[in-house]
Amino acid sequence: MKVDESTVKHLADLSDFRLNSDEAKRLGGDLENIIKYISQLDELDTSDVEPTYQVFEMENVWRNDEILPQDANCEDLLNLTVETIDNQIKVPKVL
């Protein structure tokens, strides 16, 4: 599968990455190699195989609806951000 520059740009836009043209070309090549490698799986006939959605064979892992103390409090978490105003996280303008 060909991953051209515009496809890489599209993916970058969706993730809000900024890429220059050289990076986009190089990443396109990397992605092509990755897809080619994984595409080897296409050689297998899976028409009679149920799709696998998870590999642990677990189900119904639920917890009780109880409030529990957390490993990090509000202050710890806000300290991870670049800038806050009145306990809110400040981000560049999005609208």
């Binding site: 998870q54 189900e59 917890r63 409030i67 509000c74 009145d86 996280i89």
Partner: protein
Amino acid sequence: MKYIPTIGIECHVQLCTKTKLFSEVDNDARGKEPNSCVSPVDYALPGMLPRLNGEAIRLAILAGRAMNCEINNNSRFDRKHYFYPDSPKGYQITQYYAPIIGSGYVELPSGTRIKIEHAHLEGDAGKLTHFDSYSLVDLNRVDTPLIEIVSMPDIHSAKDAHDYCKELWRLMRYAGVTYGDLYNGNMRFDVNTSVAPEDSKKLGTRTEVKNLNSFRSVERAVEYEIARQTKLLEAGEKVIQETRGWSDATGKTTGQRSKEEAKDYRYMPEPDLPPIHLTEEFVEAESSKLPMMPADYRTKFGGIIANDTMEVLLDYPELMFKLNEIDEKNVKSISNLFASVLLAEEKSAEYLNDLPSAKQLNDLAQMNEKKELSSTAAKEVFLRLFDPQMRGKDTRSIAKELGLIQENDLDALGAIVDTVLAKPETKKAQDDFRAGEEKVIGFLVGQVMKESHGKANPSAVQEILRKKLA
């Protein structure tokens, strides 16, 4: 040419679980500081695992059953990717391929049935507040459990769109799955509208108005879109498929800047959450906890409560649950007190949380029925049942304390009537009445009422007077 509108509605309902969908932090952020109800999971710190809240599954079953929906035995979660500051994970955990709630229907008060396509569990996003040069992020709402209810394009008028949203709101509150506070966004509606010529087999191009949070806005936005699209088509123009914003102030929808291409969410199975498998027994056991729904009350009380009173009362599940507790013979009079007295009170919202006991209400209705309380006195005693000073007492004690019990004992009343008739000042009225002057009976009844300090039953007094003066 006549144009037929077609409307489909997506509704997001916030579930009233104690904790969030995927972490053990407080789900009720009302009145709390921004970013105070958050965990490392909500912040999406590397290596954090979501842990599914079992209560959300139970509530989803109740919500599904409230809409006459199938509950799917197998469901699972998927990641819906998008990049925006309201979602630290960079994706929303939702159910795209295998939702927990299957098809069903909602019946409107008019009897029209609106089909439900499916409904699924997902986490809410954080809240953004926009300023001139920056935006602020509050993550308290991240991963509040939601169910998104997707209707079929089955609605054909603005009125039905309104009624559908209102009925959903009722169903979700009767089922007890949400606080249902519309002002605070507990339920939000996205409305898809299109119009097509009457004879057309194909639906027209649709527009989507997002994030409406009142039934009235839904109705007005749909009315506006039907008129706008019809006008475009009549002028030979085309409707553009787009998201439009609604303004309550202007009463108009306006096109929002559309993205150059359709969104690319790159859905994939959520590897951190094992699938849900529900046995028939579990689904049945949980479903059996569903209380009576509005449609059940319409059937049960349809012959007792007038239709318009019923539709008013149905907005308050607390009142219907209470009517269901009292004796059926008292439902008519108590429902009238609820509709005409309770809901007219300034403090009615407070009162709803702390209604009188079924016994207090049964006693009140019976005392009124037996004329121990006049209708006016019954209203007064009813309101005293909400009075913090009085509410612990039984109805009869309250009525006695207020001196509102009517004297119905015919012997006792007869004695009072005799006392009044013996007074010289009533002599002339007695003669006039005997001479055929009907209306002086009112004067005599008044005298007896005065003598009894207002406690006599006036109709009984009149009857006794007529006998004695015959």
